[in-house]
Amino acid sequence: MKLIQISIFLENKKGRLLEVCSLLGENKINLRALTVAESDNFGVLRLVVDKPQEATTILKAKGFVANLTEIVAVEVPDKPGGLAEVLRILSKHNINVEYMYGFLERASTRALLVFRFDNPDTAIEVLKANKIRVVGQKDMRAL
């Protein structure tokens, strides 16, 4: 039920994000979600794509430092308080969210969010037990 996220080290330099995106585009790799976390001089680009292994191989061949992280995509009710409800459940079970971001989703009534947990397996169990839908790789392809 876990998804694979690619994290890429980028210096804060003009055109670096463009280079990554062009590279993926040229290789027909589709972006599902992305976010950039930044520090003073560098940033970490985090991506969810349809073909993570292939994308990583391509990026590394071009000299990027990249690694793979397991993340959890959660379907959050698209209504006021929807996210709060999910977070409340996680908090109650002492599950820490390292970071989270949203999917680049097509028109739909669902809101899909990506969560990075220290322990994704426990998080998935808790979420499922509380009837929160966790999206797997299969559902991803359907997106």
């Binding site: 996220q5 994290s7 080290f9 980028l10 210096e11 976390a37 930044e38 520090s39 001089n41 560098f42 970490v44 985090r46 000299g63 990027f64 430092v65 990249a66 690694n67 992280t69 390292e98 970071y99 990075r116």
Partner: protein, 433 residues
């Protein structure tokens, strides 16, 4: 005023006789008292009786920094440690630091040559000096201190740092002489302006600046910022600390006290002497030291030397300002930094051969800045920013604790550090020295 007119203005032939006599005694003394040196001389096939005049110095082997490091701490000393009065230490590269020791007589020599330095810069007995070189294991502070006491100055042992207090001392006590690194002097000027003190109103009329290389451009900046004459002092702890050479008021080369520190300027590749006035590596023999006398010590500093008499009356040879190094050492805020020290730290953290680069810069009116660029390898990369920042912080702390100088650390993408023939360029010095 010339502190030791007899020695500093001696006729060349007379000086040569003294140097010859001192070299003969030195080689005999070292051979007798330092087993490590004796072995080195024996291995080189040289016996003390082969040394008759100063020109025979060319028969002797060179001494390099590694000889000192390999015999850490006291192996190269010619005296037992109980006869050593004072010990100074400079930071090591990857392994051992360099340790130097002074007997009571060596301290007298240090005071003597530093008194010569101070007089050469224009000090007269009764002047007050603010010594803003670091006191402690670094030789700068205490060297100036001993010389100032010897020649009858009032000494303010301010040591380095605490800039506001330095400025208050200057305003209230009105010392005429300032000793510190040239970049610290410019830094103090900026601080002074920020608290409403005009640097040109400062009491300092003579600056004795050293412990890092600096240029004529920097002299102009110092002399126009302050109402002072800015002079250059040269020295290194292995020889004595500050007190090897000093500019007089004509500012036309640094007078090297060759009756006690015999200079040669050589081609660093062949080891043979270069023509007078040509650039080469400065090599020094300590003719009269007892604790840690050194024969033909390779300073790695590049200078040119000239022997003509100076307008000030001194006959001592004069060396040009240091124009470079024959190794990759850089001096940042008076501290010697070798790239290998940084490599050692990174190796410990990453566990693999690191790719890194040191960038040194000096903005106008500011202190030197050392930035360490480190290429991010997969091994140390994390998707979490806080871990990457933690890594930056860890590298910074470890480097700072080894070097004793503040650094900035910046993580960069792989292959961003320029490599030539597979070898990375380790140091980029952007300072206008």
């Amino acid at each position: 005023m010339i502190w030791n007119e007899k020695m500093e203005c001696m006729k060349p032939e007379e000086l040569k006789n003294i140097q010859s006599e001192r070299l003969r005694s030195l080689v005999a003394y070292i051979h007798k008292n330092s087993p490590a040196y004796a072995a080195k001389l024996d291995a080189f096939g040289i016996s003390p009786k082969d040394i008759k005049t100063i020109d025979d110095i060319k028969k002797l082997p060179f001494t390099v920094k590694d000889d000192l490091r390999d015999s850490y701490p006291f192996g190269l000393f010619s005296r037992q440690i109980k006869d050593i009065s004072e010990i100074h230490v400079s930071s090591g590269t990857t392994g051992n630091p360099t340790v130097v020791g002074y007997t009571k007589d060596d301290l007298k020599l240090w005071a003597e040559v530093m008194a010569r330095v101070l007089c050469c810069a224009g000090a007269v007995p009764g002047d007050m000096i603010q010594v803003a070189y670091g006191y402690g294991l670094f030789t700068g502070g205490l060297g100036f201190h001993y010389g100032a006491l010897e020649m009858g100055l009032s000494v303010i042992p301010a040591s380095s740092g605490q800039t506001k207090r330095q400025l208050k001392i200057m305003q209230d006590f009105k010392p005429r002489i300032l000793g510190c690194t040239p970049s610290y002097a410019l830094y103090m000027a900026e601080e002074a302006k920020s608290i409403g003190i005009k640097p040109r109103d400062a009491s300092w009329k003579i600056g004795i600046f050293g412990a890092e290389p600096w240029s004529e451009g920097m002299r102009k900046a110092l002399e126009s910022t302050y109402d002072m004459i800015a002079t250059d002092v040269y020295g290194l702890s292995e020889i004595i600390g500050p007190g090897v050479a000093q500019e007089c008021q004509h500012k036309n080369g640094l007078h090297l006290f060759s009756d006690v520190f015999y200079p040669e300027v050589i081609d660093p590749k062949t080891g043979t002497e270069v023509k007078e006035g040509s650039k080469g590596e400065l090599v020094i023999t300590t003719l009269t030291k007892q604790g840690l006398p050194l024969i033909r010590y390779r300073t790695r500093d590049i200078v040119a030397i000239k022997y003509e008499k100076c307008k000030c009356g001194r006959t001592s040879p004069r060396i040009s300002k240091i124009s470079g190094r024959t190794d990759d050492m850089i001096i940042v805020r008076g501290i010697n930094v070798f790239p290998s020290q940084i490599e050692h730290v990174l190796l410990g953290i990453e566990g693999t051969q690191p790719h890194y680069q040191l960038v040194v810069d000096r903005k106008v009116g500011d202190l030197d800045e050392l930035e360490v660029l480190v290429e991010v390898e997969e091994k140390i990369f994390s998707d979490e920013i806080k871990k990457l920042r933690g890594l930056e912080e860890k590298i910074k702390k470890e480097i700072e604790s080894i070097l004793g100088v503040l650094v900035k650390v910046r993580l960069v993408e792989p292959r961003t550090i320029e490599r030539s023939e597979g070898k990375a360029k380790r140091v980029i010095d952007k300072r206008v020295l």
